[in-house]
């Protein structure tokens, strides 16, 4: 009996261990028996038959790092590409931190055939380490052979930001230029209550004085909303910082000769911003909670229709309009032009850039088969054409999109209903846009302008607040003074704003602002400024 129990125990332990070992080896078994098409695509020998044989589909295992969705394995677009382009793109996705994922792959030494990753300073640097380690191929020759791939790139930007500093080579194809000046959407700006503006009989303001007058008119002539007093003007964190740009141009203001640099904590015009905000507050125009309110409180105020004027992205505006217009189509917020002080630079609320938000790298293992590499590049080159991009983005004409009277592609009603869900389920089940690997831009656009009516209005109204990135400030980098002081400087904004904006008089507001500027001189502002100017100088002289 005792022996029986011992034997049973031994069997139990052995079977548990075996199960664990089998489980751990399960992945290896899958790797050791690749699909026939993979074998065919990796084979470099020509078929023995004398008749021309259609090549096996090119299998490309592609990893998307930093993506949020990939298409389902079997989808119509995948099938179309298989039949028409003889390419089988198999996507997987890694959704963790881009840098962690890339570091792990560097350590593991195992890169899929093609990788598309989200670019930033860190991820670009790790990608170049992949290049140093021989895991991916340099693409300079490929980019020279297929110039369309870099049509929306700036070569100098690529060299400064993406090229490997050690050997000067490019190891990635820059893709996704959705911030390009030709295509970037205007998504940030002021918006104002249109019905209130009509009620007071005034135009949308373009200067601080006009803004003050409009807000005073709102205060005097607009009745309470649902028994609650109106809020002529309010801001959240983004809004108040952006409103400051009316005086400071942007969060930094670099002179044309790159010799002077102003931030908000040393800008000579910051005092006028504080004085204007103090004036709004003392006249009962500025929301008392503007410094402390949470995002849902801010949204609730907008959605209740009590706010007259604010600054934000189009999202809060669209949500608020969604609520207000449901009851009365005339009750809505509309985009309002930039507020500008005469004699000062136009405020810059958003920048367009030649930055590629993503990059494509090709593994050395994949590129060892020259024919495969050639086929992949031919596909990407086709992707980088209007014809290819339209197909990959919208599918076969007439199936999901049709041309409207203006010749623009418009989603069929049933397709639009699916797209409006906003959960990408339609795109992922059909494969639309997923295989536009380059996220190639079509200029001019061949689709109807997406977005709400108000967002479409914003494309002209908010155009003035958009500038082209100087491609200088961020690539120049930061240094030890920045690391030491920036964390102390930036959080002080709200503290000093609270003192100056809530001051009893203009004189007091000015006095507090001067104290603020003196305070920042003592906690590192000059050091950070000098260091940044030096780094910019060094960057220019590289």
């Amino acid at each position: 009996m005792k022996k029986g129990w011992k034997a049973l125990s031994a069997v139990l332990v052995i079977s548990l261990m075996t199960t664990l070992l089998m489980a751990c080896s399960g992945n290896k078994d899958q790797k050791s028996s690749p699909a026939p098409s993979a074998l065919a695509s990796s084979s470099s020998s020509a078929p023995a038959s004398s008749e021309p044989v259609k090549e096996e589909p090119l299998v490309v295992n592609m990893l998307l790092i930093g993506a949020t969705e990939i298409p389902k394995e079997t989808n119509p677009m995948h099938q179309w590409l298989l039949e028409n382009k003889n390419i089988d793109i198999r996507m997987t996705m890694s959704s963790g931190e881009v840098v962690d994922q890339m570091n792990m792959m560097l350590a593991g030494g195992d890169i899929p055939d093609v990788v598309r990753y989200v670019t930033n300073e860190l991820s670009n640097s790790i990608l170049n380490k992949w290049g140093d380690a021989g895991l991916i191929i340099p693409v300079d020759d490929l980019l020279a052979k297929y110039p369309n791939l870099v049509k929306f790139s700036d070569p100098k930007y690529n060299e400064a930001v993406y090229a490997n500093k050690k050997d000067g080579k490019m190891y990635m194809i820059p893709v996704n230029h959705s911030g390009h000046p030709d295509v970037a959407k205007k998504v940030l700006g002021f918006f104002i209550k249109e019905d209130w503006l009509k009620q007071v009989g005034m135009d949308a303001p373009k200067t601080p004085d006009e803004l003050f007058n409009v807000l005073m008119a709102f205060k005097d002539k607009i009745a309470d909303v649902d028994g609650k007093p109106i809020i002529p003007i309010t801001f959240d964190h983004l809004g108040r910082q952006s409103f400051m740009y009316t005086w400071t141009k942007n969060w930094y203001n670099l002179s044309d000769d790159n010799k002077q640099l102003y931030w908000w904590f040393n800008h000579p015009e910051i005092e006028e911003y504080m004085v204007f905000m103090n004036k709004l507050y003392n006249n009962g125009l500025l929301d008392r909670e503007f410094l402390t309110q949470q995002p849902d409180q801010y949204q609730a105020k907008l959605s209740s229709g009590r706010v007259g004027f604010t600054f934000n992205t189009h999202n809060p505006m669209d949500i608020a309009n969604g609520v207000l217009k449901a009851d009365d189509p005339n009750n809505r917020y509309v985009p309002s032009p930039s507020i500008r002080v005469e004699g000062l630079p136009m405020p810059v609320y958003g920048v367009t850039t030649y930055n590629a938000f993503e990059g494509i790298a090709i593994s050395k293992k994949f590129a060892e088969n020259e024919r495969n590499l050639e086929r992949l590049m031919e596909f990407l080159n086709w992707n980088a054409t209007n014809e290819g991009a339209i197909m990959l983005q919208h599918g076969v004409e007439g199936e999901y999109y049709v041309k409207n009277a203006e010749g623009l592609l418009e989603a069929k009603p049933e397709v639009q209903a699916e797209l409006d869900k906003g959960d990408k389920s339609f795109e992922m089940s059909t494969g639309l846009s997923a295989y536009n690997l380059l996220k190639y831009l079509i200029v001019p656009s061949v689709t109807v302008e997406p977005g709400t009516e108000e967002l479409k209005l914003a494309q002209t109204t908010w155009a003035e607040g958009l500038a082209v990135d100087d491609n200088l400030f961020n690539p120049a980098g930061t240094g030890p003074e920045w690391d030491k002081h920036w964390g102390n400087l930036w959080p002080e904004i709200d503290k000093w704003q609270a003192k100056a904006v809530f001051a009893k008089s203009e004189e007091e507001a000015r006095k507090i602002t001067q104290e603020m500027l003196e305070h920042f001189k003592k906690i590192g502002a000059p050091e950070v400024t000098e260091e940044k100017l030096r780094l910019i100088n060094e960057y220019l002289n590289k």
Partner: protein, 296 residues
């Protein structure tokens, strides 16, 4: 027993105070529930405190309309069940062995366990280890690495040590071996600690998303938490032109969901299953924590 007037007043005050305190703790969850069943647009106006003002199931429909939600639930439930049961079984077996002074090398094993409590391999070595074991893109990556936890082993060990030795000795005198004693004597007496540690393990498995984030790229293997993170990421997207929830006056179609309302529904989907299980294990949880703390 006669209760004095003062004691009665104190009792009423006590009940009132504890009721208010309970409401204070429960209210945030209640509000999340109310918001999850309220139209997102209507919620953005504020003022939804106790009950949905504009009832809708759209928020949950948005989450459950995805075809990958079933896969995600399957993965999460599977790993929770398999992972917790296997983990508790193996940990308790190890702890039972370590609780016996006659086990050779006990001190060395204890030391090795303690070291793992203070040091870990780090992200890259762990990734390389999993890769060499074939755990990447494999369901078992959710189970195998989490089978053993040093602190859990010690808690079990402490509990087993506190059990009367006489019970085991008498069983052994009747011919039982160690495994029989474990299965028939120790295990029934240890239900509180099993339930407690089982619950901790199950909650850990249910809530975990880091393993999928780091070691899994196949979409049919991602668990519920990772899928919900994806849904939240999508709804937070500020891509220009995202017509999420616009009012289309021409076709009179109206979407009701907003990123905030999806977030509320997501929280409910995540929390409710565990909250349903907890009441059944609560008595074991309370007993187990107390017993474990007293007899450490």
């Amino acid at each position: 027993m006669i209760i004095s007037r003062g004691e009665k007043i104190f009792q009423w005050f006590n009940y009132l105070f504890l009721t208010l305190l309970s409401l204070l703790f429960v209210y945030p969850f209640w509000r999340i529930l109310a918001l999850s069943f309220n139209e997102g647009y209507d919620s953005s106006r504020g003022g939804v405190h106790f009950w949905p003002r504009a009832f809708t199931l759209d928020n949950f429909k948005t989450i459950f309309a995805r075809s990958d939600i079933l896969d995600a639930y399957t993965i999460t439930i599977s790993r929770t069940l398999i992972g917790s049961i296997l983990s508790i079984l193996l940990v308790s077996l190890m702890a039972y062995g370590l609780s016996k002074n006659r086990l050779r090398g006990r001190k060395v094993i204890n030391m090795m366990l303690i070291i793992t409590m203070f040091f870990s391999g780090g992200l890259i070595p762990t990734y390389l280890l999993f890769k060499s074991l074939g755990l990447l893109n494999n369901f078992w990556v959710y189970v195998v690495p989490l089978l053993y936890g040093a602190s859990t082993v010690f808690i079990f060990r402490s509990f087993f040590r506190a059990l009367p030795v006489e019970l085991e000795e008498s069983a052994m005198m009747d011919g039982a071996n160690d495994l029989t004693v474990y299965a028939k004597i120790v295990l029934p007496l240890s239900l509180p600690i099993f339930a407690t540690m089982g619950l901790f393990s199950a909650v850990g498995h249910w809530n975990d998303y880091m393993m999928a984030t780091l070691y899994v790229t196949k979409q049919n293997l991602i668990p519920m938490q990772s899928l919900l993170m994806k849904i939240l990421d999508l709804t937070r997207s500020s891509k220009a032109g995202a017509s999420f929830g616009m009012v289309d006056l021409v076709t009179e179609t109206r979407r009701t969901v907003t990123p905030q309302s999806i977030k509320m529904a997501t929280l409910v989907v995540v929390v409710i299953p565990i909250m349903c299980v907890y009441p059944f294990l609560q008595k074991y949880f309370v007993k187990g924590v107390i017993i474990g703390s007293l007899k450490g």
